[in-house]
Symmetry: C2
Subunit: 413 residues, 2 copies
């Protein structure tokens, strides 16, 4: 099942919004065994949409299109698709009644503008959209299936989950063509080239499988891909390659599959009946944000203090003002005092303290921008490290979050 | 200057990473007056890279490629580009000396693996990369320029900023072809279709210009585009269209250009000599994270409390336990108590309290998932609102941050 993606919208073309839809759809389709090919992003331009469809239809069983289904004048996808499939837009009674219900639930009138959302290509199968006024559509064209979805991510995802992915999965289950399954090993605390050296020459262990290294600010992911006609065959091969990798790199691997380090840390803390609180200076809430991004985090994440100003470090967490005067707010003793202070205030098993210079200002020769001290306080351990993360404010803050969770993971793993 | 983008990497193709590079490059090129066309994302596959280059070169003055320049075996872009331009990879003395310096600065040996990073197409112009071992490259092919960049965002951005964008800008300055300039008006507190209705029929005021509505969780952006041969001509037309929009929608517009609401709020607070602290429950640090994402936020953001558990709301901010028992942690009086409590603890001009049910669990009929109470406490005002954000945990948390900043903006604008 070859799937290609076509994202439509000037806002994506000129870079005003990031195309998160393409990656979400690609990951979801890959997970159920589709082979995802090219993603194309183009503007709201009828001739370019048409020529792109011509090209993608030649190499695809399914083309998934997103964007341009809104109620305003710049939304042209529906008109272009109707013309492309030699169809006309006619009012769908089914979708008109959805629109009526949608508006009356919200105590709003169905305006003339929103009524136009009921005009759909006459032969399109409607894919219900529980979160909006734009209908998803499935159309057949010369042996290729066109799936047309709104660009709003929640709406697109709901239609994919409810209609498109089950339909694709059913068609794949009937197929006997070879496909590829991927498994991802998540690492923390080692660089890409060191990891590659640790594993050695890939031709010695990969066989027909593939291995890719995907570095980001939190760690390196290793993605193994195995091809075969049955799931069993693919799983056996993935087991073989992964066990080779585990033998050499186990101490850096914190999860299989796309799990966040916060999720893994939370699961371990829950199993151990332990809790965490955080005191954040340069990250300003991002560590708490990462922890509470995990559903159910109230079982282990108790809360924390954002102590961005020096006064708040002293007044809220009892950091010694003379230590800040002598050694600076970004220093080993301040990080330790933050970790101990928040741990004792919140009565948690562990406390993490982060203090650093995110930049672009505030650096010095001794403490350049990117210097971050992170301390972990626990019942039997006080661990403190200095990191040097470079001069990008956002990356330094993200890497600080990853490093802090990494310190805790090493203790409780 | 027609620019197209080609992102290479199986990790992007299968959706394992989001293609933030394409939007960043598209926005940067659009800002200096390039016309950005198609973005294509493909896997690490030589024949597909070659056929994509064939197609893009036909319609582009410049093709910007990213990805596949790393030191591991799955990185093939350099080999493919060398073959495509009928060139060979030879060791660059210039880049070899950069690699030596890079490694010695870090106290590391130049391994055989990393030495290969010095092998470059012999006719390529090297675009220095201050943040990594992969060289950026500029090559000429049949009248089209190929720019080849690493996929790591910091490295790509540094090379774009230092080498590619100045080179493009110089070529554009020499050109007399019409181009398009965009201006974006950022709104908060109004839905896309209401905004469209407020402005009326676009054909009555747009003329040859374009207008697009870009909704996201924080508000709707309106992007106006004007085409002309001189910057003066384009600016005059943008002024005309935007003044029409301001007449009708000014009370919802918080900024021109891609500024975050936190940035605008921070600027206003700084001008007024006022400060902010926050007490976060369901957002768990994201509001603090958004505030401290703004460089210089220490002038106005003092810190805050993450009070995720009920105990911490009572113990850390003095919320009355009986109120939580009777009305629940997600309630009007608790939001007000959080805002007042953190304001008084941190001694700030304003305090914001957020308490809500992000989900997926914890909802009830009276308070479904997505219910969020947000309170703003200030010297002369206590403002409190109930929001209903839907059932997506992440979106509810993001929208809570936007709504909280929106409440403050309305008071201090």
């Amino acid at each position: 099942m070859n799937v290609t993606l076509c994202s439509i919208g000037d806002e994506v073309r000129i870079g005003q919004v990031i195309n998160t839809n393409a990656s979400w759809i690609a990951a979801a389709c890959t997970a159920i065994g589709c082979t995802v090919g090219e993603h194309v992003t183009i503007g709201d331009e009828a001739s370019l949409i048409t020529s792109t469809l011509d090209r993608l239809c030649l190499v695809s069983d399914v083309v998934i299109m997103t964007g341009g289904l809104g109620p305003t004048h710049d939304d042209i996808t529906k008109d272009v698709v109707a013309a492309y499939t030699h169809d006309t837009l006619t009012e769908s009674a089914e979708w008109r009644s959805h629109l009526n219900a949608w508006m009356s639930q919200r105590g709003r009138e169905l305006t003339e503008r929103n009524q136009r959302q009921a005009l759909l290509p006459s032969r399109a199968t409607i894919l219900p959209n529980p979160h909006g006024t734009a209908a998803g559509m499935l159309l057949h064209h010369n042996g290729t299936v066109l799936v047309v979805l709104p660009g709003v991510p929640t709406e697109m995802k709901a239609i994919m989950d409810q209609s498109v992915l089950p339909w694709l999965a059913a068609r794949i289950a009937e197929s006997t063509v070879a496909s590829t399954t991927y498994r991802t090993l998540m690492t923390v605390g080692i660089a890409e080239s060191s990891l590659a050296d640790l594993l050695g020459d890939p031709s010695q262990f990969l066989g027909t499988s593939t291995l890719a290294f995907l570095p980001n600010y939190l760690g390196v992911r290793m993605r193994v891909g195995a091809t075969g006609t049955t799931q069993q065959e693919r799983n056996d091969e993935l087991d073989r390659v992964c066990s080779y990798i585990y033998e050499r790199a186990q101490r850096f691997i914190y999860a299989e599959g796309e799990h966040s380090l916060a999720e893994v840390v939370g699961r371990l803390l829950t199993e151990r009946g332990e809790t965490l609180s955080v005191a954040e200076s340069c990250t300003g809430g991002l560590l708490g944000g990462a922890c509470t991004d995990v559903s159910g985090s109230s079982a282990w994440f108790m809360g924390g203090m954002l102590v961005y100003s020096n006064e708040s470090k002293v007044q809220q967490l009892g950091v010694d003002a003379s230590v800040i005067d002598q050694q600076g707010a970004v220093s080993e003793p301040v990080a330790i005092a933050l970790a101990n202070g928040v741990r004792s205030r919140f009565g948690t098993t562990y406390g993490i303290g982060i203090t650093g210079i995110a930049g672009p200002t505030g650096g010095s020769e001794a403490k350049p921008v990117g210097t971050v001290w992170i301390a972990l306080a626990g019942p039997t351990v006080t661990d403190v490290h200095r990191f040097q993360f470079g001069n990008d404010r956002r990356i330094t803050r993200e890497r600080s979050v990853g490093a802090a969770l990494g310190l805790l993971w090493k203790i409780i793993r």
